[in-house]
Symmetry: C2
DNA sequence: ATATTTTAAGATAAAAGAGTCTCAATAATC
DNA sequence: GATTATTGAGACTCTTTTATCTTAAAATAT
């Protein structure tokens, strides 16, 4: 898998938050229900995003989490790196340590291209951009079988 | 990680084989030593490749494994699919079941592009092509720290 | 025939990833 | 101040991946 499950959950939550009223704290419980992710597991993931400065949290009634920056200033990459680290973009497809520069392995050139295209995808898409697209086209964020979260709820 | 460790080991072994005298059976022990992969683990991986018809094996003294087809007719994709399956190319980046067609999720378009570029990389590169390139440029197949396998050994 | 070299297969173990549970800390409301 | 709603942190469990170990089967060589 390209992204870990934690990372995917983090991304989905971030998109969910970007679709909410700006500045409002959203309880994790609400997100875990809507997105159909285990509450405790999602909590841990969002704690990472908070620690990385992508979210801020507030305890107690009316508490929750929210984006620090405007969603339009948050590329997907930020969320991915916060959770999965940057190895996806630096590591070798053949899993060799000490790769690339001096003595690249056989697939280096092709892999470097592909890696760039992944990087571009993650750097060039912001949360807001995707949310806007989703609102326009009624795209969903959860499985077919469960409760679909449409961005126009 | 894009590819599982098993898959990476399988690819490295396949490249190693493609660099050997055509038709010759190569003992797995030799490969595991040269590539610095656990013998038993590599054995299991190569069993999969044998089961999938990519390698054929021969028991006993002078036995080993070899490529069924010429390396020039084996795209990396074949090895990847044999070990990791095709989920990399069909599954969603956001890990949603029942994706895409009817109601794509927010990042579908971007992800589909990236996925295509991964598919191209794996389909268009053959073992032989990479080995040839490697021989020309003295590229390596193992870590800096260990015994480097140069294709010109 | 017997011993040797090799792959095949399966049991087991260790490590990493995913998920759950419990309790503490903080803030609002009553 | 007590109760309630929320995040924070840690221990714990379950599952998958990765790796090891043991034994069997096949082929060769002696
Ligand atoms: S040379 Fe490139 S493809 Fe090869 S191991 Fe290094 S980073 Fe990976
Ligand atoms: S629509 Fe595309 S990106 Fe979204 S879940 Fe499906 S395959 Fe993945």
């Amino acid at each position: 898998m390209l992204l870990s499950k934690s990372c995917v959950y983090g991304l989905r939550a971030a998109l969910y938050l970007a679709n909410q009223e700006k500045g409002k704290f959203i309880p994790i419980r609400q997100m875990s229900d809507k997105l159909e992710i285990s509450f405790h597991f999602l909590t841990k993931i969002l704690q990472q995003l908070t620690a990385e400065g992508i979210l801020e949290s507030f305890k107690g009634p009316n508490g929750g989490v929210r984006l620090v920056r405007n969603g339009s200033e948050v590329p997907l990459m930020d969320v991915v790196v916060a959770i999965d680290g940057s190895k996806l973009l630096t590591e070798c497809a053949l899993g060799l340590p000490g790769c690339g520069v001096k003595a690249p392995c056989p697939i280096h050139d092709k892999w470097a291209e592909t890696r760039d295209s992944i990087r571009e995808m993650l750097e060039q898409s912001t949360l807001t951009e995707l949310v806007n697209k989703s609102r326009k086209e009624n795209l969903r964020l959860t499985s077919e079988d469960g409760f679909d979260i449409l961005f126009n709820d």
